[in-house]
Structure formats: structure tokens, C-alpha cells
């Protein structure tokens, strides 16, 4: 199989798969049981692509030959593109050889819908069986659940994979109907519900038996596209919050829409992907998961979209100035997390160090607090160090949004990156949120479906 046709297939199928952003390999720990590979809980990036994004998995499609015709997708059946498919054997070989060389952490296998959902899922299962049973591969595997496939097949795939995902893509029923008419909400939520049930059952069994079967041990995730429709950040974030609650998702990923097709209901083909908007959504998502914020605190009826100049936490602080300043030496953990410039790690350090001795102003920087932002919102040992009596406008002027890329680099890359692994914070140039075309205006703001 060592020939150039493999090279070409890998190129074509990677090009088609790369817009799927969920690349995190973290969330599970598997010991090697005498074969090849293991999975580490922390997740490992193996390289960073030219766009600065972390590459952890071999992310590819089984095939790009699709019977569906989703408007936003490069592989839709109405596009005249080259169609290729891998065999199960080819994928298994590439995964093993890449893994041995430490190029990758594992496999992220997605697929267009070839022939029908069952046939596609069967081929996915065949690939996983080769890897797990013949090659005794214990590395990380993430597969797409194909909506519409038989529940029995989804179960089989779930027993072999570490993570499964169904991409929701759009947060409202209306958008789905217009852009992906062959999909519907029920069809998408069904496999999600099944996977959740499978995971819950195994967890229950684990309480009872020592050797409970495995089922998607790293949990399930999903992805939503940002900027293909007029859906607001609020619709997207509320949908994400509901998905976390109702399906216990591990992650929701957001993907700035890169126009690959022309279409009446789509942004113009030259529209730049709304990277900054995507960045704000990731920050907000991070606030939901680790900072105990609720979606309704971050966006309101009056404020449907995130301010692109300030991050969501800072914006929340602007709207709630009456709660500040907060005393570092007495505030509880939840309150510390609400201070701009204080992250999870610094909040923990504060809690620890306070047990031994009161915290002094000079300590704050060493504890990892970004003082440039925090000093307007805190008191330390009763003393306030920012300028007095600032109202929102004054604060905004001081925090004076620099040209966009500088503003973003304030966000400390090495400490807390709200992305799967690695980040995309530094933008080459300021980016506009895609301006609506005429056709798009029809979409309006849909009802949140979950």
C-alpha cells in the first residue's frame, strides 16, 4: 500500500475533515495492556499546524462521498469534487505507523454518509476492530456517530471508541431546516441520547461489578458552526448550556464558518471566518464549565451578542460593578473566580496560601493574578490599588482596547487556554464578523431547540 495514491487520498480526506475542530485527546486514561499505546488524561499536542492549531489526532474521513446535501459542507452531494474512500485496512496501517513514530495521540475518524448510515457505520466499526483487536492499539480513538444508523451499530462503535460525537452544527431548528434539510433535530439528538444512556449504564455497572464493560469512556462532544447563519451568540450559548446539562457532554466546540460553498442562504464566499467571535464563545464556554457562570448572566435579551472589545468575564464585571471591589483575603472561592484577571489556578493558590498567612499586595502577581486587569476590582488587606470612583466608561477607557491582536495577546496563552489544546488567540489581522447577504437575512433569529 506504500504508494502515491495513499498520499493523494490522505490529502483529499484531510482537507475535508479539517473544519471539524474537536481535536482534544484528553479526558481518558488508558494503560497499555501489552500492545501499542496508551491514553493520558492531560492530552498531548504533537504539533501545531500553519494556522497555529494543535494537532493531536490523525483527523480524517473514511470517505467524502456523501448522499446528503448540507448547504455549508464541501462534501455535499451537489458539489462536483473528487470522491475518494479509504479502506479499513489503510486507515489502520496509517494510524499504527504514525503512532509508533509519535506523530499522533490517536485517531479522529469521521465520515460522509456513503450509501446509507448503516453501511458507513459498519465500515467505521470494521476499522476500529482492526485497530483494537488485531493491532492491539490502546491509543485514543474518537469517532463520529452517524445520525440515522441502527442503535445496535452505534453501541458496537461505542464499545471500541474512547469518545463519540454527533455534530449539531446549528443551534436552532429553523437554521437546520434551511441549511441541512435532510437532517433534523430528532435524528441528531437520538444517537446523543443513546450514547448518554450507554455511558450512564456503564457507570452504574461500575459501581456493582469490578469488570464493567467500557463504553465511550472519554464521553461525547459536539460542534456548532458560528457565522453560517444569523443565529445570535445567545442562541448558541444557550444551546451549549442545555447540551451540557441534558446530555452530559464533555465538550461543545465552536467553529468559525469558513465559506466553502456559494449559496443563497449562506454568507458570501469571500467572508472572513469570524475568528474573534469564535474566541469569545470559547471564553464564555470556559466560564460555564469552570467558573460557575450561567449563560443568562453572560448574555441577555438586550445583549444578544458578545462585545468583541472585551472578554465575557470583563463584560460581566462592567455590568455588575456594584459587587466590586472584592477582598482577596476573605472572598470565597466562587467569588474569587468572578474577578477579572483571576483564573482557576490563582484562585486555588489564594485559597491555599490564605490558610497559612494573609495575602499581601506584593504576593498577588506571583500568585498568577493579572494585575493590569484585577487591580480595579480587588481590595487586599483592606487597601484598594486602582484609581478611585471609576464608572464603566472610565474603566473601559483605561483598559483601552488596543488594536485587536494586542488586545487578544493579553490573554495569557500558556496559563489558561480555553481551547481543546492550544489556541488561536493571535489574529493575523482584525477580522469582521461576516456581514449578512440578502438571502441570509431570511433566517432571522430562530428558537433554541434544546
Amino acid at each position: 500500500m506504500l504508494d502515491t495514491s495513499i498520499m493523494e487520498k490522505l490529502r483529499v480526506l484531510t482537507e475535508s475533515a479539517k473544519y471539524d475542530v474537536s481535536c482534544a485527546s484528553s479526558g481518558t486514561q488508558t494503560k497499555n495492556k501489552g500492545g501499542l499505546g496508551n491514553a493520558t488524561a492531560a492530552g498531548i499536542c504533537h504539533t501545531w499546524a500553519a494556522d497555529g492549531r494543535c494537532v493531536s489526532l490523525l483527523k480524517t474521513l473514511l470517505t467524502n462521498d456523501c448522499i446528503f446535501d448540507c448547504a455549508y459542507c464541501a462534501n455535499r452531494s451537489s458539489n462536483d469534487i473528487k470522491r475518494v474512500s479509504f479502506t479499513a485496512e489503510e486507515i489502520a496501517t496509517i494510524v499504527v505507523e504514525f503512532y509508533r513514530r509519535n506523530y499522533i495521540e490517536g485517531l479522529f475518524l469521521s465520515s460522509a454518509i456513503e450509501v446509507n448510515p448503516n453501511a458507513t457505520t459498519e465500515k467505521i466499526i470494521q476499522t476500529l476492530k482492526l485497530l483494537r483487536n488485531r493491532e492491539r492499539f490502546y491509543g485514543y480513538i474518537h469517532v463520529k456517530a452517524i445520525p440515522g444508523a441502527d442503535p445496535e451499530l452505534i453501541r458496537q462503535a461505542g464499545e471500541l471508541a474512547d469518545r463519540m460525537s454527533v455534530n449539531i452544527e446549528l443551534p436552532t431548528e429553523e437554521s437546520l431546516r434551511i441549511l441541512a434539510p435532510q437532517k433534523n433535530v430528532q435524528k441528531l439528538l437520538l444517537p446523543m441520547a443513546q450514547i448518554k444512556k450507554g455511558i450512564d449504564e456503564v457507570n452504574e455497572d461500575r459501581g456493582k461489578y469490578k469488570f464493567a464493560a467500557k463504553f465511550v469512556p472519554a464521553g461525547q462532544s459536539t460542534q456548532m458552526i458560528v457565522g453560517a447563519t444569523r443565529d445570535s451568540d445567545r442562541s448558541i450559548l444557550f444551546a451549549a448550556e442545555n447540551l451540557y446539562k441534558n446530555f452530559s457532554l464533555k465538550r461543545v466546540y465552536y467553529s468559525a464558518y469558513v465559506p466553502v460553498n456559494a449559496g443563497a442562504n449562506l454568507p458570501a464566499i469571500q467572508t472572513a471566518p469570524p475568528l474573534l467571535r469564535e474566541h469569545r464563545l470559547y471564553q464564555a464556554d470556559w466560564l460555564l464549565r469552570y467558573y460557575k457562570f450561567e449563560a443568562k448572566e453572560l448574555l441577555t435579551e438586550q445583549e444578544m451578542n458578545f462585545d468583541l472589545d472585551f472578554d465575557p468575564k470583563m463584560n460581566w464585571a462592567f455590568r455588575n460593578l456594584d459587587r466590586f471591589p472584592i477582598e482577596i483575603n476573605t472572598a470565597d472561592y466562587g467569588l474569587l473566580l468572578r474577578i477579572p484577571g483571576v483564573g482557576v489556578q490563582s484562585a486555588r493558590r489564594i485559597m491555599h496560601q490564605r490558610k497559612i498567612s494573609p495575602i499581601k499586595y506584593e504576593d498577588l502577581k506571583k500568585l498568577g493574578i493579572v494585575m493590569k486587569r484585577a487591580k480595579y476590582f480587588i481590595v487586599c488587606g483592606g487597601k484598594f490599588f486602582g484609581e478611585r470612583n471609576l464608572e464603566v466608561e472610565g474603566l473601559k477607557r483605561i483598559m483601552n482596547p488596543k488594536p485587536m491582536y494586542e488586545q487578544l495577546s493579553l490573554f495569557n496563552l500558556t496559563k489558561e487556554v480555553p481551547y481543546p489544546l492550544g489556541g488561536r488567540n493571535l489574529l493575523p489581522k482584525p477580522v469582521e464578523v461576516g456581514s449578512p447577504t440578502d438571502g441570509q437575512a431570511k433566517l432571522g433569529l430562530g428558537r433554541v431547540i434544546f
Binding site: 506504500l2 495513499i6 498520499m7 490522505l10 490529502r11 484531510t14 482537507e15 479539517k18 473544519y19 494503560k31 497499555n32 501489552g34 500492545g35 501499542l36 499505546g37 496508551n38 493520558t40 492531560a42 498531548i44 499536542c45 504533537h46 504539533t47 501545531w48 499546524a49 500553519a50 494556522d51 497555529g52 492549531r53 494543535c54 494537532v55 493531536s56 490523525l58 483527523k59 505507523e97 504514525f98 509508533r100 513514530r101 509519535n102 506523530y103 492491539r136 468559525a256 469558513v258 472572513a272 471566518p273 475568528l275 493558590r349 491555599h352 496560601q353 490558610k355 497559612i356 504576593d363 506571583k366 500568585l367 496563552l413 500558556t414 492550544g422 488561536r424 493571535l426 489574529l427 493575523p428
Partner: protein, 244 residues
Amino acid sequence: MIYLHDGLFDGFLTCIYQHYYGHKATGIFEKASYTPCLFDEVLVIETDTEKARKVYNSIVEKLSEEVYWSVFYTFLANDVNKDCYLLNYIVLAFKMGPSISLLHSHDVVYPVKRLSKKVMSERHRFLGILRFSDIGNCLYAELEPENDILMILSDHFVDRYMNERFIIHDIKREKAIISNLGEWLITDFKLKEKVIFGEKELFFQGLWKRYFESIGIESRSNAKLQQQFVPLKYRKHVVEFHTD
């Protein structure tokens, strides 16, 4: 009194032992990297594994595993004063007990936290960017890390490649992990001749490079960010960054 050791962790721990049972140490250095100073009183300490073990035991028992790992990671750091920081840290730790882990910004604690974090993150980086080649009878990888991280890479790769034979070669320090189906050791190591890659190896290198080129999204291209994650100094041994 300045104590000098042979560069092994046991040597360092023996110095700590001497500090408590002999003269008080004012500084500890590795013999090879110490620049003599006219006014220093210097003593070279003979490594004694028994004494080292006693110190190790009391760190783990009276303090905590966490303290031990901070000490060990800091010891691997590339910093001439690391052992002096550690001396102060260990002395303070035995005064305070395990609660020393709660401190972070303290003058004695901070340098240790800072260095151990640096070592830890370099380890994590290499878990990702270390590249092996199949050279016929085993897998072979080269690296030139800033800190001496070979030891703390071993657990990860030995478990991962349980069914393989491999060599991880620190060419700067001329030593290597050599692992054979799960059994391994660290030893002095130098290549006699240049490694030559076979056809199959070159094919998979090429395939990987092709994949690497295809995965980036052009409209989001961002070389500056890429360089932040993979600084130029690390690229020498990372095959997808080689141009040919």
C-alpha cells in the same frame, strides 16, 4: 561551607544529609558546573546511596510526595543555582511540614515552584514533539532539551511502546533511554555513524508531512502563533518542519 556533588540526584541528597549531620551547608553545586571563588570553603561530598535513601524517605514520610516531586523536578532544571534553592526549600520544608505545598509566592518557595514548573512543561512539550524513526531493528529518537528530562520521559514512552524496542537519545548530554519490550535503562550513549532511513521510513515521513500541510486552514493561517507553540530551536528534530 559549600558542598559539591557528582551531578547525580543521590549525590545531591547526600549533601543534604551532610548538612544535617555535619557542617551546615551555605550552598550546594554540581562539581562540574561550579566556578571556584576565593573566599568559599568547599567540600566535595562522596555520593552515598544509603544516606541519600534516608533523606528521600524522610522527605516522603515527613513531608509529602508532592514536595518530593517538586524537589526532583527542580533538580533536573538547567540553572546553576537550583541546588541552592533546593537547600533553602528543604530546610524550610522540614521546619514547616507538609503545609509548605500551600505556599506559592514565598521567597524561598517561589524559585522552586518556578523551576519545577519549567521542567514539567518541557517534559510535556517533548511528550508531543519527540519524533521516532523506524531504523530497522528499533525506533530511534533524538532530542536536545534545555533541562535534563530524559529520566522523566521514560515512564510515558516505556508504557506507550511496550511492544517495541526504542532509543531516546539526548545528544547534548550524550545519554539515552534504551528500552526493550518494557525493560529499560538510561546510559551514556553516542552514535558511531549517522542513521540512514529505509524506503518505508521515508514513505511514512512523507505521508506525515503531506498530512501536516493539509490540516492547516489557509484562511486562518498564523505563523506567529505556530512559532509560539513550536519555537524554532525545537524544530531541528521535528520532521514535519524540515524542508527538503
